[in-house]
Amino acid sequence: MAFDQQQKRDFKVVGTRPVRPDGIDKVTGRAMYGADLSAPGMLVARVLRSPHAHAKIVKIDISKAEGLPGVKAIVTSADLGRPEDEALRDTQDNCLAYDKVLYDGHPVAAVAATTPEAAKAALAAIEVTYEKLPHVTDVDAAMKAGAPVVLDGRAYEEVPAGWSQNVTNHCEFGHGDLEAGFAKADLILERSFKTEATHQGYIEPHACLASVGPDGRGELWCCTQGQYMVRETCAGILEMDASQLKVTPSEIGGGFGGKTTVFIEPVALALSRKAGRPVKLVMTRDEVFRASGPTIQSSTDVKIGMTRDGRITAAEATLRYSGGCYPNMTCMMGAQAAFAAYDLDAVRTYGWNALTNRPKEISYRAPGAPTAIYAVENVLDEMCQELGLDPIDVRLTNAADKGTKSSYGVTFQDIGLKTALEAAKAHPHYSAPLGPNQGRGLSCGFWFNFGGNSSVTLSVNTDGTVNVTEGNPDIGGSRASISMIAAEELGIPYEHVRTLVADTASIGHSDTTDGSRVTFMVGLATIKAAREATQKMCARAAAIWGIEPDAVEWIDGAAQPAGPNAGKFPPMSLAEIAATSLKTGGPIAGHCESTADGAGVSFGVHLCDIEVDPETGFTKVLRYTVVQDAGKAIHPDYVEGQMQGGAAQGIGWALNEEYIYGEDGLLQNPGFLDYRIPVASDLPPIDTVIVEVPNPGHPYGVRGVGETSIVPPLAAIANAVSRAAGVRLHELPMSPPKILKAVMAKG
């Protein structure tokens, strides 16, 4: 039987809701986060940042600062080499500006000193001479010819005439005859949308402790979604061998994609190397907003043709994204995801990226997809209104299914979109009555999900307990899920398994925790490692019984003779085999270092009710329901948590969160007061419905669930607001002044 073939099986542990292993530590404060480690002789570091949106660095004079009491090291870009690799160079330049500062908050220099006060005084004594340059912070303005050019020499090879050199990336997807498709339509709608950049808003700011010895060997403790990514990037920038740098991931206070790159780690290492002492560097919230990675800002045109009965005949979208001051390909994921939910004969998407004087974008849950699908689902909703059609029926009519050739080329295997739409339609929420000034919105959502590389070691301890060691930081309860999977495979209680996330020296490479890949991929590797361990345990039992190893099989947590011909022996439990293991052939462990495709795409459907105050533009989210395909929910609490968390973040994005840049190109709201994340009282209870259409690429059917949930809220909320206010809005966030303006303009 192929490894990933699914058997109908009765799960014992998978699907239950045990207590998470990291819970007590987190609620008691015992958990060690990025800023919680200290070392003898440690220095504190502070970063000097650009006060300009765009400027040439003429000179950095550190001579006065160096002489101040307590100052042990100062670094600038001049302390680092120039990496050959363009992407690595961009990352380095983002950590310490090279010849230009590209955004408000761009790091220019860093100081390590004996006290925070000394470090602060040194920052004030560093003299930077800037030559201010014109700036551009808006994606549409940045694409126009004549816009200030953010980075020279990075333009896309075929930038269309009349466009700026800021245009760095382009992609195109689709199939079929658009013209013929639109000709068949009874209604064609064309709309343009704009969305502002948002921040992941993780509670824990970036923090690290770096220590480089005189022999050049380094240790780094940091909060990250990927310790191997940190090691490779830092080793590259500091020209160290990967083997000489050990990176230990701390407990992580939220990431959502924002901790899949480095901002401070190479700087702390460079300071430690120069000072010869450990260096701690912790970002402030202001720095996190100004200079870590928010999402893209977007501007999108969508054109859809539809027949009177709701069949889409053709669909087209142009997506213009700005991922800040360095090139990036997020527009590709947006262009692929835009129409992924639908089975279309004629579809085309075009993605563009333009540079702006904003911080370098980094992933935020399903990067690129939410804003693309926001635009598409918004137009669909308006078409349903215009044609008098039921929004779920129209989506069911067009929904992608097994065998559909997707708009980005892939042919889908088993997918759960139709099941999710049916579940949404059957949910009491969909037929509940609405009051005055209330509207109901709906949206589908999609995310690819990734597989990638991960390493797992599963050790059977002599007391019959088990340790799983893996290399993927736990940002969503994955240690619980991995322990459950190990317990399921081994046939032992969940409480007997403990899963640990290891440093880079303790286990092999694991790709970053992103792409909703960990429960899928580390889970897969854990199943393989467990099966290797059970095979070894069967062999031990066989040796003890004096029968052939393949005459023994692993059933219910014990080695048992396979069938009557194998002989009659009582089952030998994991604990019994473990207890004698050191005398029967040595320690027992299973390993898996592997790579996997087949992550299995995931679809979701969100429903929400909103009330709009027509006199103030104030919105209240009255009711919210998330339906999502999880393939197989290992720990349903954490699946529901992901579904609710994505919805909450999407609600913030839709209603009030935004990066606000002034005329001067400076960020006006680098704090939680004016960067308005929803507070608990802003949100209704978020209802969840887990749909399980097994992923054929995983033995249990698991699909990633972490990202799909942030995709539908933007359009679900926009559609609800538009219906409640009686006027369609085309810009996010839909903050009260914008809604009031639209309502008043409608009259």
Binding site: Q668, L673, R676, P736
Partner: protein, 285 residues
């Protein structure tokens, strides 16, 4: 930096004569400002241990509220809430449960924010502020305390010791409403307080309307009050009230709200607050 706990008003006043001295009440503004670097006082004068400053006492039928009384303590005082529900709800809108345990009405006033939630209802209530300083005590109408964003009229060495909310006639009621984009933990984009006294037949006899966050200081809008006197809050009266409020607005245009938004919403809030105050005064809406 020095932290002082004076035991007498005179001692407090003399500490406040020192260079860069600053009163500390709940600290919910001051500590935040110190952390961000906006203020770096040399001497911090904690007034919470001065005699009487944490008391709410009756005086001539009104209430004298000590400058160190927290929002939570005001909320727990049933008689105060019954007499001045609008003033108390303004103070209770500040922050969250945690903030309420520390934030004071006097601190809210002395911080000088044009958007302070505790101030408009005090102005509508004609509260009187007792100020203690090197030269002794003086009383001052609350409306004369704020003079501009972050600025107040207190002299060197002076501090607010208490605030007097006057006695209530029969058939009186007040209310305060603010607009924020979220449900809590935000700064008012506009705020409106209305204080009414009704005649026996339900006609408005006296009306005071104050607005916050739409001008450099919270302010009384006399025309807005006048629009209500002699009415039973019929629609034309409410429309005239809103118009008067809009005319009085001189807001800034910033990330928190546009001029047109703040102006429009100030009128809406005034209308809504007037209806609430009217019902609280025993009027039939």
């Amino acid at each position: 930096m020095r932290y002082a706990i004076p035991k007498t008003a005179a001692e407090a006043a003399s500490l406040l004569m020192e260079e860069a001295a600053r009163v500390l009440a709940g600290g919910t503004d001051l500590l935040v400002q110190m952390k961000s670097g906006a203020r770096s006082p040399e001497v911090i004068v904690d007034i919470k241990h001065l005699p009487g400053l944490r008391d709410i006492s009756r005086e001539d039928g009104g209430f004298r509220i000590g400058a160190a009384v927290s929002g939570a303590e005001m909320q727990e005082h049933a008689d105060l809430v019954a007499a001045w529900p609008g003033v108390v709800e303004g103070v209770n809108l500040i922050g969250s449960t945690q903030i309420q345990g520390r934030a004071t009405m006097a601190g809210n006033l002395c911080n000088g924010s044009p958007a302070a939630d505790g101030v408009p209802a005090q102005i509508a209530a004609q509260a009187v502020v007792r100020i203690v300083g090197p030269k002794g005590e003086r009383d001052c109408p609350v409306a004369e305390i704020p003079t501009g964003p972050g600025k107040i009229s207190l002299g060197r060495g002076e501090f607010v010791a208490s605030i007097l909310l006057p006695a209530r006639p029969e058939r009186s009621g007040d209310a305060y409403l603010r607009f924020i984009p979220r449900t809590e933990m935000d700064i008012a984009v506009a705020g409106a307080a209305v204080n009414l006294v009704l005649a026996a037949d339900g006609t408005v006899d006296q009306a005071r309307v104050a607005l916050g966050a739409v001008a450099p200081t919270a302010m009384l809008v006399e025309e807005a009050g006048a629009a209500l006197v002699g009415t039973k809050l019929e629609q034309p009266a409410l429309d005239a009230l809103a118009k008067a409020c809009e005319a009085a607005c001189k807001p800034i245009d910033d990330k928190r709200g546009t001029v047109e938004f703040r102006t429009h919403v100030a009128g809406v809030l005034a209308r809504r607050a007037a209806r609430i105050a009217y019902v609280r005064a025993g009027g039939r809406a």
